[in-house]
Subunit: 194 residues, 4 copies
């Protein structure tokens, strides 16, 4: 029973995720969710009191998934520069993807909800990425692939650029070339004799 309930809750969250990805955060009504999930009005309230609660669960799931990704998919033996290139390529893919992403909903959510830093998904993902990038840069320096005076600063710079690109891509059409240009610029800053 409790298992079935958990099943259903998960189903709601996943369906809601799609709805939020399509419509953003604030325009989503409980009615939207009900219709998307094909459950009854009251049924939804059994699990979630309002869209905020629901969205926070979506975020939690998102968080977990992101953690899994970071943990699992990095090929240990690859060269740091290759890993970085891979990372940036993935970022590029997300930036240019035509599929509705949760990004806008996330922005909207954090616009109106002051969240303690530790629980702020955006901040956590940003900080995690900075840490990983810094490690990568240091590794690249050791292997002689990168040159950099301030690895932490460089990592942060990369992330802010990506953040800037992300918000740009959500508010205007960004050509692929523009993304490439920025990535290239950022990479050049890491190779000797830039």
């Amino acid at each position: 029973m409790s298992d079935k309930a958990a099943q259903k809750k998960k189903h709601i969250i996943e369906t809601a995720r799609k709805v939020f990805a399509e419509k953003g955060y604030k325009q989503v009504t409980m009615k939207d969710i009900v219709e998307a999930c094909e459950i009854s009005r009251g049924g939804l309230y059994l699990y979630f009191q309002n869209t905020r609660e629901l969205f926070e669960e979506v975020l939690k799931l998102e968080q977990e998934d992101a953690d899994d990704v970071f943990a699992g998919s990095i090929p240990e033996q690859a060269a740091p520069s290759d890993i970085l290139a891979l990372f940036l390529k993935e970022q590029k893919r997300e930036l240019l993807s035509r599929e509705p992403s949760l990004n806008i909903a996330i922005y909207e959510y954090f616009f109106e909800n002051q969240v303690p830093p530790g629980e702020n998904l955006m901040k956590r993902q940003f900080d995690t990425a900075v840490r990983v990038l810094e490690k990568l840069i240091r590794a690249g320096m050791e292997s002689g692939e990168f040159y950099c005076e301030d690895p932490r600063g460089a990592a942060r710079n990369i992330m802010y650029v990506l953040e800037g690109l992300k918000i740009a891509s959500q508010t205007r059409k960004i050509p692929e070339a523009a993304v490439d240009r920025e990535i290239l610029y950022v990479m050049q800053g890491l190779v000797y004799e830039e």
Copy 2:
């Protein structure tokens, strides 16, 4: 009469600007505007059919003001590095300001309205800033203050970092030190032997 009407319209737009700054774009209702402007419900509809129309007028005004600022306030005879420092200082002030700004409303607006590039305020301001920065960097290179292999790229990089900082500052608390750090990092990239 037409003069009086223009007067009234302007009053509405300016009041609406405050409302949008306080509440964002989507949560603002026609009712909010009516109450803030202390005009009649019907009166508002005489000038604007909905909040989108109204917000677009607010944006237009914003655009004009921004153009004025850019045109007017740059001290021609100052050193490029000083001008850049001034520019970044102003950006920093805006990033850390506690006063409600139109930023969130603007993001929300462009999240849901695909606007042709030429009319996209965010893009226009971004591009204008890039051009100005590029000119500044080139000037700095000539005067020997700056060293840079790709002035246009550097200008763009600075703007994306600022964009990233901006969205970060709207979605989480950003300490002043973090802003300083980024500005410093960006400036260091412009001086010889970084």
Copy 3:
């Protein structure tokens, strides 16, 4: 305009009065009022936020009407005993009336709303009646019609009996004879050598 609005408000209150008389206080929904008044949902909310507010206006009106009645209709030159008889007859009429009265709604309202004594309609009407009755009894004593050692106490006693009869009549069928009996009993207490 404001005149028309007042007109409409009054119309709503009067219609609502009927609804409350028929259905009591708590079962009445805003929808009931809307339907009875034949106005729109939103229209009602223009004037009253909820049924409590509305009922309080009904009570106010009731209060005013009651005050008017007390002020106007007492024949000054009549004998005290006649006036008392008249008063009791009116009370009896109300007790036995088959027409829906506001009584139940009033009880329900005061069951769940603690109201400061000065604003408590029930208390005010009770106290007013006690005062009038006391005056009447004293007048009757002077004219030799009544004998009573504690006019104020007698007045209060009468009112509590009436209150008891009232609640009895709202919760069970009370035969006319029972009312007559009580009134007779009460009157006998006032005549010499009871």
Copy 4:
């Protein structure tokens, strides 16, 4: 099983009694009962179809308890005036008690349910009390403690006053002095040469 079921039914009724005492009759929902009893939703429906049915069972229990009380607790050998004083003291205690009583719920129930006289708890208790009081008064007359021309009328009068006091105490704050005053007044009517 049937024993266990009876047990459970009784448990529900007793718990429901508390809920009705706290919230009145009409505001109580099946959900309230379910939560208070800590049984399942469906479980409750196995025994009671709605709150009316449930409340009627509560009333039945109340009736039985009341009968028990009347039957058992009267000290036979005491003086009638003492017994009456005791009775009134108990009434006073109930009138002034701050603990939630079933009174309001009972009123509400009988406001909206026309019940045949024989089954009307309020009427039955009223009539029983009148009979007891009458007997008491007659006994007091024989022992010379009381003087009264119409014992039945006096008994009824006392009960109506108490009924009036009861409804008064449920709809407004009643000071202890007011209750004392009424009881005194009523007692004085029973002693010779009032």
